[in-house]
């Protein structure tokens, strides 16, 4: 399928540069959020003990808001 956006696409056969990957973050987040809830992180897993201990009761660092990507 041909790209319909000017946002850098993650290609199949070449590397994506760090700059292009960063540039595409906001658009990817917006695409995801068109069809899913704001946060997809699982509420629990077998790693809960170590994660909640390291991240003050959470399962990881807080995500950067879409507006700041």
């Amino acid at each position: 399928m041909k790209s319909k956006s000017k946002v850098p696409c993650i290609p199949m056969n070449e590397s994506i540069s760090w700059e292009d990957w960063l540039k595409g973050r906001r658009a990817r987040r917006e695409s995801s959020k068109l069809v899913t809830p704001e946060i997809l992180r699982r509420k629990s897993s077998s790693s809960d003990g170590r994660l909640r201990k390291l991240f003050s009761g959470e399962r990881g660092l807080p995500f950067t808001p879409t507006s700041k990507l």
Partner: protein, 209 residues
């Protein structure tokens, strides 16, 4: 990679507050160190999904596998290399720079498409194929029972791919979904159509309809 460069990288990764960037940078330094010893690491799991979707999915752990053509990865070599990163724990899981790194076994993949590659700050990283990650999520979303998180993950994947932000081989998605290891094509087809309708793009699995 010399000690000074490792020290600088670790300081940068430790200070990083964005969980997605932090895990990709950590994958980058781990990949560089292991590559020097003939071992190619592949990012799998939540960090791989996050790389493709930015869907706010990953937790505070980074899952890595090694590729089939790599040198044997002994426990001693794991400890030696993760020791260079001041990793605490082992021999399969370490705390490094404010995250956990798990080095699992050799990667299991049925996909024929290439690992995707990111030129990250401390060296290139390889990421598990999106075609297989997608089909896996669809399987987990319905089998053995309904799983809403997995379904949402698959939907995030589909939306970003349908909108042209990931180059996906749709024939490979179809082939994988039909394989006996997955047997999930009807559900895959239905979910692609559902998301395609939501984002108002024609389903690539039915381009002539």
């Amino acid at each position: 990679m010399d000690e000074r460069k490792i020290k600088t990288a670790l300081a940068d990764i430790t200070a990083e507050k964005d969980p997605t960037i932090k895990s990709q940078k950590l994958a980058s330094i781990c990949s560089a160190l292991f590559r020097e010893r003939g071992v190619e690491l592949i990012v799998v799991g939540g960090s791989a999904i996050e790389f493709y979707t930015d869907g706010a999915y990953a937790s505070g752990d980074l899952d890595l596998c090694y590729s089939a053509g790599s040198q044997p990865l002994s426990l001693r070599l794991r400890q030696e290399l993760m020791g260079k990163l001041k990793g605490e724990g082992g021999p399969r899981s370490w705390q490094v720079a404010g995250m956990f790194v798990d080095i699992l076994g050799q990667i299991e993949t049925l996909a024929r498409t290439p690992f995707r590659k990111l030129d990250a700050p401390y060296g290139p990283i390889k990421i598990s194929q999106p075609e297989e990650l997608l089909v896996e999520r669809i399987l987990v979303s319905v089998y053995p029972g309904e799983n809403e998180t997995a379904r949402n993950c698959a939907k995030a994947f589909l939306s970003t791919a349908l909108r042209g932000q990931i180059e996906l081989d749709w024939n490979e998605v179809k082939r994988l979904a039909q394989r006996p290891e997955y047997r999930i094509f009807p559900q895959c087809d239905a979910l692609v159509k559902e998301v395609a309708d939501e984002v108002q793009i024609k389903s690539p699995l039915h381009p002539d309809e």
